[in-house]
Symmetry: C2
């Protein structure tokens, strides 16, 4: 099973993190992102969206980091990581939506500006980050994990760019419950890190 | 089962559409969005994110339109609407991510500017819409439905703001396969529409 991967991408790290936690062996294939490999053939045949990560499992190609987490969890991991009961599954999907939207356009966007020089609206990314982290802090004030009172793929989806937020000028200090949750994730058995965390 | 709802919201319409297609009875509770009801108590107790729709099923509160689709499908609908096999579920989740991100920040954002006077970057919303619709058109050139070769909650999540795109100045004309898919969705048994579609 191959993961088309970039070391510095939080979206790729989501998958590396979950695979490590759930003990799923994956082979990493480095994509030359700075050289634009993801925007050219043959990569575009693998993913017309021109995005990493992409997971290839035999004949199966899975695109989108949230979808890859769900695929790996459903196919290869203990059910605890992805509940199948309707209410539990919906709780997890709620956080997958936040990962795809608020996290992406908040702390991820701020980091893209500061660390990679992307031309994005930094002030808006900071406002979105503050809103997200405030709501996340309130959520985590009453519980240890994002969904279902245990670690799930929801935590793996949201953790990377929240943990990397200081690289975009977004401080963790005002959010004590987020800080405690970050430490909780880091203390999980088989946790792996990435540069910047 | 109550849906806290706004007639003109495409996110609320996702849920109304799916509930109609899957014959799930829901009671609609109108939220005074223009009056800011969603940003005040007691609504904020129901959803701290201050967003609609919210589904209340007995003691259970489900937030986020994608999560509500998954909850309703898993709890009350035929499995065809939400596959449980890992590959099928991942295909659907891929499109739920697109609904939460690219659809939201593309055609939805453009419509928010034109129809509701939101102060957003219209040019960026149009660029994002063109990219999304181009990729969607390529995807639908080879298949009839977004995932699993049948109608699923993925279609219900993506359809509303794509169908409403002309209200944000995004034309359907350049995208023949998207146009055919829109007609295919409209022809589903028990389809319900909303103003602007």
């Amino acid at each position: 099973m191959r993961l088309h991967d970039l070391e510095l991408s939080g979206n790729c790290y989501k998958v590396r993190l979950f695979a490590a936690l759930a003990q799923i062996p994956i082979e990493r294939v480095a994509v030359d992102f700075m050289g634009g490999e993801h925007q050219r053939l043959p990569f575009l045949e693998l993913n017309p969206w021109g995005e990493i990560p992409v997971l290839v499992d035999g004949e199966r190609v899975v695109r989108d980091s949230q979808a890859i987490l769900v695929y790996l969890a459903a196919q290869y991991a203990d059910e605890a990581w992805l509940p199948r009961d309707p209410a539990g599954l919906a709780e997890v999907v709620h956080w997958l939506s936040r990962a795809a939207n608020e996290v992406q356009h908040g702390p991820n966007a701020a980091r893209l500006v500061d660390k990679f020089g992307y031309c994005l609206d930094k002030a808006k990314a900071l406002r979105r980050s503050a809103r997200l982290l405030g709501l996340l802090d309130g959520h985590l004030a009453q519980r240890s994990w994002l969904a279902c009172e245990r670690p799930t793929v929801a935590d793996c989806a949201v953790f990377p760019y929240v943990a990397l937020a200081p690289e975009g000028g977004v401080a963790h200090e005002p959010y004590p419950h987020v800080r405690q949750w970050i430490e909780r994730v880091k203390a999980l058995p088989r946790f792996v890190s990435m540069q910047g965390i």
